[in-house]
Amino acid sequence: MGTPVRGVLTVARPTDPGDDVTAVLHGRPDAPAAGSGHTLLVADAVEQGRRGTASWVERELALGSKVYYKGWLPEGQQHWLSGPAGPRGARDAFASGQLEFLDFPTLVERSGATSAGVLAVYQDEVERAFDDLWPTVAMTQESPELPMADDAHLVSEYATWESGFDVLTGEWPVRMLCQLSVPAESERAMWETVAVHHRDLVDGVWSAAEDHGRWGPRGDLDAHVSRRFGAAVHGALRAAREREGCSDLHVDLAAVDFMDVSCAEILMLAARSAPAEQHIVLHNGPRFLRRLFDAVGRPPSVRESEDPR
């Protein structure tokens, strides 16, 4: 594969140590500090996404990971990563080679925008990092603004390379943070991106993770995030159907702090629209949530688990 781009950015230290560059990722207070993972970070606004990403990169640099960053390099301007909103330590990391930047046009050129090409680029980066004796690898990319609305083939390719990322992070000590900037993406792209990442996503006041075969949303599920929650439910149901054996989706509700009518309806409607043989099995649902589901109408395809309460 091609030569990585090193030190192409002019990196400046934050002008004020008190600048808000260390904001933590919200919604996953128990997120492990290390270990592999493939996480989606959803942001309603560009600045919000940058704050979360900066904190993630900063943490990875502190942990001693090799960090690969892919994004859009604005013409004639420095990238935000090297500006005051960027992560602390970025200048030294660029200089030492711990942090590398690859702009999206170059990535497209190298990968051909195919799933095989994209995965080959990432695989090459991971192998090169371990050849250089970095203990862990952190990879993050900005919202790609793929024209999914008009290109079903591209949607399929996207899903394939994201599955490849799951394999990559499953086999190696690699942590990957995919960024989704809602204002930059089409509705279709937002939907597919969240659906693909339903196993591990962080979206402001809510997040989702999969653990021991149970999909667990957590935090506040409300009208502000209902479309994204719907996409994640859709993705979880789709993934369950692709499994061998039982296609039921087991949903653990123990960590849901709040759910409004729109999200409850989405969950129930998703169950209604699923194939007849697929059920949604609810685990650890608080009494009030069960009351809410009853109020919006619970279809027969939604059932409570028989776990002891």
Partner: protein, 295 residues
């Protein structure tokens, strides 16, 4: 002797003058005295005189404050004032009279408010209205009391009608605004929920009652946001929670252009299972959604 009533008993008493009033009131007043309740009669001097005569020695156990001691039915904080008439730990029976100076509409607001939030109050309230009173006031008295006090005891009132779910009760009867939150879009919902939860807990609601109050107000705000400019909904949420275990929220904002296109049906149907009362008031340019939550 029958078992003493539990919770609020809201009686109407329709009369033709002091003698008739006293004759209809005395059976209920005697029952209250026999049950060991505190008894208060806030009435004009002629009525007080007749009641004293009818009760005889038992009148010594009755308090007779002037009518002005009672808050008007549309006075700010009226609900809280009524709650103050019934000290905790005891049951009170209170007789008051309709004052001609109070407009009928204001009277209706107050009467409706009592039934909505004070069901648990250990109070028997006897509201007295003359048959030759202003017709609007008389109509309010007839329809707002489930039972009537008469010379033969209390009887069902065939003219009673439950309060309309869209009755525009003046918000001030629920107390003063303790929290005010501006909402421009769904991104502000989390803050609204936090403030409602705090207010509900502060008012004494617990557990699922708090969760229900939060959800009901949240949904009412969502309705307002969806009906208006999605980025600049311009809503104001006002919370009143100083009337006991009760949270009253009013969400006001411009009436959206889409309102007229909303399909027929109750737009608050999904809110009602989670609150004691929800009401929608539309003016040509303004919409208000009110949500009342109780313990």
């Amino acid at each position: 002797m029958t078992a003493p009533p539990a919770g609020l008993v809201h009686l109407g008493l329709l009369h033709r003058g002091p003698d008739d009033l006293a004759a209809s009131a005395v059976p209920e007043l005697r029952r209250a005295l026999a049950d060991g309740e505190d008894v208060v009669v806030a009435a004009d001097r002629a009525t007080v005189r007749r009641v004293r005569e009818a009760l005889g020695a038992d009148a010594e156990r009755v308090e007779f404050p002037p009518p002005s001691a009672l808050a008007g039915p549309s006075a700010p904080g009226f609900v809280a004032a009524v709650r103050g008439w019934a000290p905790p730990g005891r049951r009170t029976t209170l007789l008051g009279q309709y004052a001609p100076a109070v407009p009928g509409a204001d009277r209706a607001y107050g009467e409706d408010a009592l039934g909505l939030v004070l069901d648990d109050l250990p109070l028997t309230l006897i509201c007295c209205c003359r048959h030759d009173e202003d017709p609007e006031q008389l109509a309010v008295a007839r329809r707002s009391h489930p039972r009537l006090a008469t010379a033969v005891g209390t009887v069902d009132n065939p003219d009673y009608r439950p309060p309309s779910p869209t009755s525009p009760v003046p918000a001030a009867v629920w107390g003063t605004v303790t929290v005010r939150v501006s909402v421009d879009g769904t991104a502000d919902l989390a803050e609204v929920r936090r403030r409602v939860a705090d207010a509900a807990a502060g008012a004494g609601l617990e557990g699922d009652a708090v969760r229900a109050a939060v959800l009901a107000v949240h949904e009412a705000v969502v309705l307002g946001v969806r009906d208006g400019d999605p980025d600049h909904a311009g809503l104001t949420v006002e919370i009143r929670s100083d009337t006991g275990p009760t949270v009253f929220c009013e969400i006001t904002g411009p009436r959206g252009a889409t309102t007229a296109m909303v399909s027929p049906g109750d737009p608050l149907a999904h809110v009602r299972p989670f609150c004691a009362r929800a009401a929608l008031h539309d003016d040509p340019d303004r919409r208000a959604v009110r949500v009342l939550s109780t313990a």
